[in-house]
Point group: C2
Chain length 217, copies 2
């Protein structure tokens, strides 16, 4: 079934895929507000996109919109969720329980985004044993055993840049297939067949700097 979905949408450009989470968020909000049908014009105003951009993006997936009816919010939400795989519940571990790691562990809604957080690790003795959500922070030395036993597929790296390459290598050896990487070190270049999302918050801040200078000067 899932294989079919992937095959059905092969050839969809990465930039369309990258926009899907945003559609998903807006559609989810609409559903929460009990809106079940929306025209591409209304959706475009809401999302600050052109209606033609929306039609183009969503047509890639077979077109859920009907002329004169608009989009069925529930059907579209379900389908985008399927495409993204948000029902998969991939097992994820988080390494580095500093402020950023804790913020993510505590506040990210993993369950609605395709993941299930099953472990948090740190090397600092003071943090080990501290409860976070339904988990307790474990010693990073126990990573190998943990991975052998529970086979997590994804690791979140909230560790310093200089520790990232070595730890990522180890984790790949332990069977990790994907990284959500906050370490300021770009992992993508080093691995084949490993999914990587490098998050560079500084890039977003530099972009804001450009935007604000355009406004102020």
């Amino acid at each position: 079934m899932e294989g079919e979905i992937v095959a059905r949408y092969e050839g969809v450009s990465p930039s369309v895929i990258r926009r899907l989470p945003r559609y998903y968020r807006f559609l989810e909000d609409l559903q929460k507000k009990d809106v079940h049908r929306i025209s591409s014009r209304e959706l475009s105003q809401l999302m600050n996109l052109t209606a033609s951009q929306i039609r183009q993006d969503l047509n890639c997936f077979g077109g859920f919109g009907q002329q004169g009816y608009g989009y069925n919010v529930d059907a579209l939400l379900g389908e985008i969720g399927n495409i993204l795989g948000l029902h998969k519940g991939y097992k994820v571990i988080l390494i580095g329980a500093g402020n950023l790691g804790l913020a993510i562990a505590k506040h990210m809604s993993f369950e609605t985004k395709g993941f299930n957080l099953i472990g948090i690790f740190d090397k600092q003795k003071e943090l080990i044993g501290m409860p976070v959500r339904h988990l307790v922070i474990s010693d990073v030395n126990r990573l190998e055993n943990f991975c052998k036993t529970f086979s997590p597929q994804v690791a979140i790296l909230c560790i310093p840049r200089e520790e990232a390459p070595e730890l990522a290598d180890r984790l790949v050896n332990y069977g990790i297939k994907g990284f959500w990487n906050f370490s300021h070190y770009d992992l993508a270049m080093d691995y084949q067949d490993i999914a990587v999302e490098n998050v560079h918050l500084g890039d977003s801040l530099m972009t804001l700097c450009y935007e604000i200078s355009e406004i102020l000067e």
Copy 2:
């Protein structure tokens, strides 16, 4: 002078602008490693882009590369920094000193990204007075006075979604011209002539979910 730069680069697409911080990061790394000259082929391997994409992007800015010589790392770094405005030192305040706010306040290198962090605010009494870097967390009730006195241009919102619209309105009234917004509420739609970078970490996690499902299934 800056006006000239902006004018010189008018018409450059937002997607090119959005890629500049990544170029900046890689060029900065090269400079730190004492590399002062690089071919577009080498740069493309490093950044996992095609050489023609790099030439296209950088040609927008007048072409710093020379046939047979490659790019002058220092000149290119300086110019991209100028375009982004990273020397501006815009005054920024941070609101919400939870785990995420503290992670950003403590670890983000504002100075190298165009900003100067001049205030941190929270409403929780226990946090007020706590030292963070060179600052002390202030009561959010003092925002208005603070803004009148020090005229920050940008606010970082690390507050819950439901508090974002009202607080953003107030901050715009206090003269704030840009937001770095982590509140899960999209601000862009509500304001004209205000720069907004909405950071949705969940979008990145959903994209990773898609990528990992492509690998595993």
